[in-house]
Amino acid sequence: MSGYNLRAEDYTKQNFSKILKKIIFYTVAILVIFLSVYFIIILDTDWHRIGSGEGILKQLSYFVGLDFKIMPYLIKPAFETFLMACLGTMLGLIMSLPVAWLGAKNVTPLGLASFSFARMLMTISRSVHEIIWALIFVGAVGLGALPGILALAFRSVGFISKIISESIEGADKKPIEAIRAAGGSGFDVMYYGIIPQILPTVIGTIIFEWDINIRRSAVMGLVGAGGLGLAFFRQMHMSNYPGVTTVIMFIVGLILIGEVLSHYLRKRII
């Protein structure tokens, strides 16, 4: 009951120190922000190059308009980007199944060793950016769509396997025990006991990841894998700014299609 017996002055004192703490925290935060604004934005920027607002407007006006001539040449890269995302997600799913199996606490075969190994793989996969994966794979397998697919797959493994292993951990134990009691092997437990339970979550996750992968595959071309990113890179280097706008419109269109499709698919499944 001592909490309710606070005297009024205690209460105000407590309140005062709380407020003081808050004030100090906010002052420091604002100071830090202003310092970074000063160092990052004011000191680091070449204000002379930007010139006046007019200069920026002029620069922006280059981007206005569409280049209709390059449109026929963008259909194949757009399709390539789309396929890259699909294949990358599929390969990512295939690779993430064993990782998820190792990374689920209740089914991992070697206890803590395999569990922490799988968790490490997941973390590495998620924390390396897709551009870096693409760079590594362009070095490993050469230019083209293949490094893009591999990069997307490696990037997706972390997320997909994390969700799958979490849903394996959260699966209902009763059917698993029933299968085990009836003499089912480890494979039987996995196939008849766990997979039917986690299937909806897994499919939802894959659709979500596929949606993100379309976005990612559109930039794979910037570092040498194919697709719309390569077209963007070319237009940018030719300083054909209306062409750049056209490529961006294609990317936005592709992503909108992906979003609508994934929305529709998710609604149908769930």
């Binding site: 922000i33 990052i40 934005i41 399709f79 551009i131 870096i132 590594i136 963007f232």
Partner: protein, 265 residues
């Protein structure tokens, strides 16, 4: 029973072979050599072992590189702050139940969020670098756009889930638009806002490590330089440092989210 089983088996077999045939067609269309595909993993291992392996860790501890890490972090939270301020307004416009004007505000807010979201952060960086030049201003602007897309989507979904009874009560008592937000909506979404904010910071920091590759400052610029100079040992050191930082930021954001969750319970 057995017949059904057999028929299902045949159906599955046909579907499976169709599936593999489609994948084969995709590979043909993309011009991928099967031999190259199956040797990819081996090549990847070889590349890591031969080129990237002796990691040049002292390079990642040089003061120049360390200060670039600081630059990246600063770029991350500046982009986050500006982005979240803009995104909150846009999310309010784009929430179907709260938007002040359904005819203009809703589609504009929704469109801007989707537009900011559908363009990858690296493409935003390239665009802003062409407009304002190399440097961290371009990076901050790119991260701002990224945060608008990311935060705006999550927050507008959160706003659409608020309990409208409370909001309507306050509105029917004659509150203006600001009062409705401050007393009806904000207390309901406060926790979610903080959670999404921390999550966005995490993602934004992850993006800020890489955007330097396309001309914004920070760690990415070091990465670009070493990739172009084929300094594999240094590149792997940088990638390793990015992994360490990202793990650290993930742990921090998980800790903070946990703390906030506990405080509200």
């Amino acid at each position: 029973m057995e017949q059904i089983y057999k028929r299902n088996n045949a159906k599955n077999f046909i579907l499976l072979s169709l599936f593999f045939f489609i994948i084969y067609l995709c590979f043909l269309y993309l011009g991928i050599d099967f031999q190259r595909f199956f040797s990819a993993l081996g090549n990847f291992g070889k590349l890591i072992a031969n080129r990237y392996y002796p990691v040049d860790i002292p390079y990642a501890l040089e003061p120049g590189y360390l200060s670039s890490i600081l630059d990246s972090i600063q770029m991350g939270y500046l982009g986050l702050i500006i982005g979240v301020i803009i995104a909150s307004i846009l999310a309010y416009l784009a929430a179907a139940n709260l938007t002040p004007s359904k005819r203009i505000g809703y589609p504009v807010g929704k469109f801007l969020i989707i537009f900011a979201r559908s363009i990858h952060e690296t493409i935003w960086t390239i665009l802003f670098v062409t407009i304002v030049g190399f440097g961290m201003l371009a990076g901050t602007m790119a991260l701002t756009m990224y945060c608008i897309g990311f935060f705006g989507k999550l927050f507008s979904e959160e706003l659409e889930n608020v309990d409208m009874k409370l909001v309507d009560t306050i509105r029917s008592n004659g509150a203006n638009e600001f009062q409705v937000f401050a007393y009806g909506v904000w207390p309901q979404v406060k926790t979610a806002f903080t959670g999404i904010l921390i999550y966005t910071w995490d993602v934004c920091f992850r993006a800020s490590t890489i955007i330097g590759f396309f001309g914004a400052g920070g760690m990415g610029w070091y990465l670009k330089r070493n990739v172009l100079q084929l300094e594999y040992a240094r590149t792997s050191a940088i990638i390793l440092s990015i992994i360490v930082l990202v793990i650290f930021s993930e742990a921090l954001s998980a800790y903070m989210r946990d703390k906030i969750y506990k405080e509200t319970q």
